[in-house]
Symmetry: D2
Subunit: 346 residues, 4 copies
């Protein structure tokens, strides 16, 4: 932590800062410039943060230097991690395609979408049974009935299932059906939910909050990790900006930035960020070559009848192009498409 004093700060102000830091068990190094004094702190930043030094007389600016996240940081764990979901890896050597309907509507629709997903090379199935919707009057998902459909379709197709959980109260129940839990963009800072999932050992996909900085996103992951669950996959799904031509702005730079800061895998959601079918393929390709460890894509057998986000679901021939992109660009990146490995121990 670095403290910059105001030009008008008195020597006594500097001494007060030094005293408080040392009283808290830290060390303070004072550099005197022509117009200003800078104090460098060495010790536990959490302790320093609680001192609220910014409010002390004569202090102009406090800059935090150490990263605030630890368990998910690459400083802590230099090797990039692999998360395995029922034998399907998500990590640095592979590109994992996850596909399925935005919302589970019927057994037939879900199975048809899963078959579409497989034909495009997907090795995991996505599908929502609990849908957080901006309007209380919109379709909210089938709930546990939807989870049963997903489990049946997994039985039929062999695809592991990722599905959203929206409340700490539901974690155990949803984890009884799902292979990977999803935390949606609106719940990225629902700390009760993060902690409840942290208590499980179920893999989790943490979507970036549409208004969250990368720093905050990693701190949200730290909440899960701190409770003991490090099976975390991050998912960039677009941020909110002034641009309205797309639903959200896919922050493709976040992929290499996060991989530099954290050992966790990062995947990209090209469907929800763009919000339009014709953007899914360009953004999928962009995600892979930016270094993403996977993609999560909406497909629907009849998007014009979808109860949720049909406008962005891929259909027929787009899927062939998506399959081709996953194969070719994954190879270009020196990776392989992720396949399920049956392991004796799982």
């Amino acid at each position: 932590m670095v403290i910059v004093m105001q030009p008008s700060a008195q020597p006594a102000d500097v001494q007060t800062v030094v005293d408080r830091v040392e009283a808290a068990g830290g060390q303070a190094f004072v550099s005197r410039g022509v117009r200003r004094v800078i104090v460098g702190l060495v010790g536990d930043v959490e302790t320093f943060a609680s001192l609220d030094i910014g409010a002390m007389p004569g202090v102009a600016q406090v800059t935090r230097v150490s990263t605030e996240y630890k368990l998910v940081s690459r400083e802590h764990h230099p090797e990039r991690s692999v998360v395995r979901v029922r034998g399907v890896p998500i990590g640095p050597d592979t590109v994992t395609l996850i596909a399925g309907p935005c919302a589970v509507e019927t057994p037939e629709q879900t199975l048809a979408a899963a078959r579409m997903a497989q034909s495009a090379g997907a090795t995991m199935l996505r599908g929502g049974a609990f849908k957080p919707r901006t309007s209380p009057y919109a379709f909210q998902g089938l709930g546990e009935a939807g989870l049963r459909i997903l489990a049946d379709v997994r039985e039929e197709t062999g695809l592991p299932v990722v599905t959203e959980v929206t409340s700490a109260h539901d974690v155990e129940m949803v984890a009884g059906y799902a292979d990977m839990l999803q935390i949606g963009t609106r719940n990225m800072q629902n700390f009760a939910l993060l902690q409840a999932i942290g208590e499980t050992r179920v893999p989790v996909m943490l979507k970036r909050g549409m208004n969250a900085t990368i720093q905050e996103w990693l701190m949200a992951a730290e909440y899960i990790a701190q409770r003991g669950n490090l099976e975390i996959v991050l998912c960039e799904r677009g941020i909110r900006t002034f641009e309205t031509a797309t639903r959200n702005t896919l922050d493709v730079s976040a992929v290499p930035v996060v991989q530099h800061l954290s050992h966790l895998p990062v995947i990209v959601d090209p469907s929800h960020s763009g919000g339009r079918r014709e953007l899914v393929l360009p953004l999928s390709r962009a995600g892979i070559v930016a270094g993403a460890d996977g993609l999560i894509v909406d497909v629907h057998p009849q998007p014009e009848l979808a109860l949720c986000d049909g406008a962005q679901a891929l259909i027929g021939k787009d899927l062939d192009e998506l399959a081709k992109a996953v194969v070719d660009l994954t190879a270009y990146m020196g990776r392989t498409p992720a396949r399920r490995r049956y392991r004796s121990a799982s």
Copy 2:
């Protein structure tokens, strides 16, 4: 709802739109321009929304016209509402000052802050026992022990208490201590929490999500209202923008905009938006004359020792200025400072 067709749309495309709308029980009016066709829909917009007309061939743009919120809208209820919290009104004829510490730390600190609040003219006490923090390593609040302190201080001072609840699971417990529940900015779209509070009849203060549009904020209020609880006070607390000189950007325009759209009271939080003590007074004054129905302000007897957000807590002489502003500017606006009225039926 208005549908704009693409210039290249075929007559059959237009007919398909019309047919689907009429099959869903609506009416469709077709206007043919030189280059484009526009279709105006009359009927239930929720039904129309579920048709996902934007995904149909030849459709360029879908504009929703009716407001999506109903119960909280001023169209539904033209008179502006008053919410009463243990006899303290929040509404169009008064300005209600709510003050207290960001976090409850000790009985002594909480009582001292409550006395400061009263000296500034506050008639309600704020204080957090459950603190959602970006970092899992930061102080998370005292939990139920903090609620007991708040209840004791209410006993001592007579000030009704507003305090945050962060999880649907805790609603009943927190409501056992609090006079008004607070939903924080990160939980504005925690729909499980909104619905759980909607099931109670306890007044609730709904803070605006730092990334939420006014439309989304009102939809979040609608979630609560739809379950039967209309005792809702909205709180503008700053939005996230590119500017980093302030913690968030107080959107003071939101006060008159929301009052035009909704009958619910709107208050302003000048402490969390600015994040700096010296901004609290100017923003408090600005809030009152923009028409806010109240203010919620951080005070702390020793901000330099605060475990949370000390840098923005008001101290000694600032409180006198705040008291003066509330009295004088409330009068300028033709209102009165809110006082508790003991009612026989409450």
Copy 3:
């Protein structure tokens, strides 16, 4: 300037930073922490900036500490400045109301608007002859003919005139008619224009870029000041955010923040930020009590016929309320409404 080294930085990396700083005539103070090294620099920040230390091996982060603006900073000039426009002061003891039509259309419309402005207590006239418009097909202003109308109306009413200049090439010509030049939001970083105005000694109103940080805004003012013109008034007119309910989001916090950083006067434009007539009064009041040194407001005798931004122009009875707010709230702030003082030397 403070340099934070990466945890993996080698002693040789630190030495290279120190050597380069000292070779450039500065001093470097090294603080070694448990995991990181911090280097504090003392000397000329412009020189340090040109060294691009952030690109050197082992460097994690570079934090600039001294303000980059000098002439406009309050550190440089602690007393708040007064800018006088033909005897009308804009500064800390007064509140100056500037009003007039968005665009000059005809002599009659301009005179009528000026009379409306006076009736509301305005002591300066605004009006655009060069209108930067997003579309090349929109009304672009009357050009020099419009300036002549403004000069005639000044003759008739005695109101000094502020009007926009959009190109360095036009500065001399516009300055021949205007008492104060306006730099619009889209030209805040048109550096050729800033420098051309810096060469004059004509007062200038610098609107904040709708995407500009406060730091960038003050740097733009510094461009003008650096050429010798310190007669600068800053104007907050709203920033671009994700919210679309208002045209821009008035950043009312910017008023006290800027006054803390700079000695220049700051006024508020409530018409262009909100973009809606019913927001002008609340935002005008909010601006005054946030500490603004003035307001600039659109008025139009027949807004429904205006060629530009009619939707936000004040009309009849709103003006009376505006006049009342300026009188009453100016007094509340311990100021006086600005009046023209005829000075022998001007």
Copy 4:
């Protein structure tokens, strides 16, 4: 254009709208719903816009339907365009690599950077002689001396030159040296500059304003086109968002969105958006597979000595990877790297 009336609008209000539209030569179609009336307008939108219908009594909302840009729109010109710069094409069949130093500093540095650019497959040279900088104290470029260096390096290497012009006054002079003019992000709405370049027949690269919507960007291109110059290449260079981990957020979705709306070529600047060397390669790859028609990249022989933006300049081995990406991913997209074609007529 579609007018939505307020629920409280009177029949006379609707009639007034209809009358005004018809008086202006348009047609108005009225659709009456249960709660609201919608009026669809057919005719010239520019005329309608000047009527300021939004300010009329009873009007709730005005939605513009036709695109406001014409000459640059794909509706106007369905085939995607090719812009040729001294025989180097930028268009749908090729990917054009433009590279060079951010700023021209010396003949040696510029030539060395040009050779680096060629080795990476570049067929155009970038380099700034007029540098718009946030601070007046930062290096502002060599001016015309820099242009002469660029012209000499072109002579030596055969690479056509693109360079920035920052003022309408300099257009003719800069065009005497450059093969393509660049309009920087801060000047995207410098309408005098746009119009001056519109009067020439020199190709122009129009960078997106860091705060500009895609709509505004295309309107800025329309300003150039309207004066007769359609040799316009658009350049996405990142937008300003709340995220501070990158200098700006590359909006890679803008590539397919713009290509859908406009026939103009679109290239990507991965250097200025990310602001960090390690992001240039991932963003370059992402740009190509999102469908960009080219890339513009910073290179510098000694970035640690660069006077401008050294932190983002590519060096040695990165160039080989860039060269490989351009070759391989261009082929994947079914395109060819752009090569100069000597044409008899040019």
